[in-house]
Symmetry: C2
Subunit: 151 residues, 2 copies
């Protein structure tokens, strides 16, 4: 794996917030948080992480690459499932530690088979135990899409 | 500060993904990632963190509370600025480590004065240095809203 350090180090808070230099602020583990939304509906599809290499590949290819914290591995979204994300627009937040990508999502973003990972509502205002409410149906069968537990 | 432990511990991956028990999976620092979107437009406004107390207060009050990692403090959104977030709907993701709230945002979500923290686009496909493109104007003057550097 090549060692990519394609991004300049973060500057002052003012430079980060009001500048035009893209200097992403990776955390202690070398990661940014990335929110992916459906470019058409605006729905939040998933939240994942990118290291510098995943971010550079996403910028270069226009397809979403992430870094899996559980597998400690670079991860091209849709590599196993075919459910790739074509990036229509990328945004960065004020302090440049979070990325937003608006994507064309093939199939579903969630490995459980739903279009979005956020398929359950958390009802407000209840004390005590909270019971989740399912809101979204599966759009694919994960057993058919992910052989051998891959994603 | 009271010690709130209002949430049951996470179960198996299957229970987390397909169950109806809300058992949020806080990270090693006791935090969840939270994405706030504009309930009307669907735009992503900000990404921040909640500890168990912030999550419990958000559920109980229907207004967004966060935990500031930089200030190590519970933070009622809008406490200094008046730019509170009324939660219309809360969702949780497949593995219950990320929360999505759809909010009515008074004023702007971003301390820089913009409606959303994601006010700059990152152009795709360019090698080398990336120049950000400003997309959103300020909706308030942070100098007037945050006296003495508060948020």
């Amino acid at each position: 794996m090549e060692d990519e350090k394609p991004f300049a180090p973060p500057g002052t808070a003012h430079e980060l917030e009001e500048g035009t230099a893209f200097t992403p602020k990776f955390d202690a583990d070398g990661l940014l948080t990335c929110v992916a939304t459906d470019a058409r509906s605006g729905d939040v599809l998933m939240v994942a992480h990118m290291n510098a290499e995943a971010l550079a590949k996403t910028l270069a290819t226009g397809e979403a690459w992430y870094f899996s914290r559980s597998r400690r591995a670079l991860w091209r979204k849709g590599e196993a499932s075919g459910h790739v994300q074509r990036v229509i627009e990328m945004r960065v937040d004020c302090d440049q530690d979070t990325i937003l990508i608006k994507v064309e999502q093939i199939g579903g973003a969630c490995h459980t088979g739903r279009r979005s990972c956020f398929y359950r509502a958390v009802p407000l205002g209840n004390g005590g135990a909270v019971t989740l409410e399912f809101r979204d149906e599966r759009v694919f069968d994960p057993k058919l899409i992910y052989p051998k537990g891959t994603r």
